[in-house]
């Protein structure tokens, strides 16, 4: 890595797309071992963090309805909306924590008098789970189940990032478990269209370091290649059963990402034949992006344009205990990682 920094004669910026990579990198102290010329940028790889404010407020609106039962994964529960969060609404009994889409479906079966709305957030890793639940609901004729989909696609976001927001990214450390589903070949278009090295690595520190090393080797040689070193679980084509069920239920649609704005064909929307399970249709809601919360710079953090400590609210008005933005709430958020582990690094810069 040192050799690459020296021979290129400028700083190297590598974006770690996945939030779990950010946490693992911090936790293992990798940041302190990197040469000064190598900078790791956090990317938009935290699905909770990139969920726009409009979606969050829609969820909270539905949570206020007495006929609704909101089923959500744990990491969404503390994200602040305009007024409160799902956590504050939990006391009303309308919000249930689930570990899987199947749990949400079970809630619908056992609460026939309530409308169960599944808060379907996550990248391609999680989308198949939602799709399976929708297919099952359709097959069983479960009428009181719907999905508020905010499933997002990683590769379109990487493209939008490079084209519009931050072209100061030299290479990508690509997400491991998304790749299990989509296959590492999905990142080929980033390599071919943008000339950036893409390396898929697992979360174990030795893997991450090996991945960064491979990227630096490529940069030094002036190459841009696709490589996966996460051989244990990632294949070239990915999990085709999962891809098929996603394609059965969903189609790509334009969507809003915190920090990146509107990205074409970057989110998953339920297809026409399953539209009765789309909560937006069922409840007659039209989604539009709400304004970002005052002073919150999550958007810039997600694009790798600033580091969390550069946000005025960081560590003061915005802490894990009292978060303003989702990057501080989510266990995979860059701000949360920096808060817990970053102080040393801040003083070194």
């Amino acid at each position: 890595m040192k050799s690459a920094c020296k021979s290129l004669g400028r700083r190297i910026n590598i974006m770690e797309v996945c939030g779990t990579h950010t946490v693992s990198i911090f936790r293992s102290g990798i940041r302190t071992t990197l040469p000064d010329g190598l900078k790791l940028l956090s990317g938009p790889g935290c699905p909770v963090c990139v969920t726009d404010q409009g979606y969050i407020d829609t969820v909270l609106q539905l949570a206020d309805r007495s006929d609704c039962l909101i089923a959500t994964y744990g990491d969404m529960i503390r994200v602040p909306g305009r007024e409160g969060s799902l956590e504050t609404k939990q006391t009303g009994g309308n919000v249930k924590l689930v570990l899987s889409s199947e749990d949400a479906l079970e809630l619908a079966r056992s609460n026939p008098d309530r409308e169960v709305v599944f808060v379907a957030v996550g990248f391609e890793t999680t989308a198949p789970a939602t799709a399976v639940a929708v297919v099952e609901a359709a097959a069983e004729g479960i009428e009181n189940f719907s999905v508020l989909s905010s499933h997002k696609l990683v590769v379109p976001a990487m493209r939008a990032l490079l084209s519009e927001k931050n072209d100061n990214i030299d290479a990508f450390l690509c997400p491991g478990h998304v790749s299990v589903i989509i296959g590492y070949s999905a990142f080929l278009e980033i390599v071919e269209d943008f000339g950036r090295p893409c390396v898929v690595a697992g979360f174990e520190p030795a893997q991450i370091i090996e991945g960064l090393g491979e990227i630096c080797r490529q940069l030094e040689a002036g190459k841009a290649e696709l490589k996966s070193i996460y051989k244990a679980v990632v294949t070239e084509r990915g999990n085709t059963t999962a891809q098929e069920v996603i394609a059965e239920c969903f189609e790509p649609a334009d969507g809003y990402w915190r920090g990146l704005g509107k990205i074409p064909k970057s989110t998953l929307k339920l297809k026409e034949k399953y539209s009765r399970f789309d909560a937006l249709e069922r409840f007659g809601i039209s989604e539009s992006p709400a304004e970002e919360l005052m002073g919150c710079r999550c958007g810039e953090v997600l694009c790798g344009l600033i580091e969390p400590p550069q946000c005025r609210l960081f560590g003061k008005a915005c802490t894990p205990r009292e978060p303003v933005g989702p990057c501080m709430v989510s266990s995979e958020g860059a701000c949360s990682a920096w808060f817990k582990y970053g102080a040393e690094r801040v003083s070194k810069r």
Binding site: S101, T125, E344
Partner: protein, 80 residues
């Protein structure tokens, strides 16, 4: 949300499984991994098995997750 957990299938009926890892057992579906069999190690995410995983990788991931859990439970303090 990216994170998937390796676990061993200890019960399997159709696509309904019970998996075991890190001292816990819980339900998971093998709908997305139709070739999964009893006794195999699989990667589980949001209640679904999404791929097979070998012993070595499973062990390393369990160790890593134990560390990350510790990280998340660390009291909020701005220090190294």
């Amino acid at each position: 949300m990216c994170l998937a957990l390796p676990a061993r299938i200890v019960e399997l009926k159709g696509d309904n499984a019970v998996v075991d890892a890190m001292g816990n057992r819980w339900k998971a579906k093998t709908t997305l991994l139709p070739d999964a069999r009893l006794g195999e190690l699989v990667l589980v995410h949001a209640g679904f098995a999404i791929s097979f995983v070998d012993e070595q990788e499973a062990k390393e991931t369990w160790e890593l997750i134990a560390q990350i859990n510790e990280f998340n439970e660390t009291p909020n303090k701005v220090s190294g």
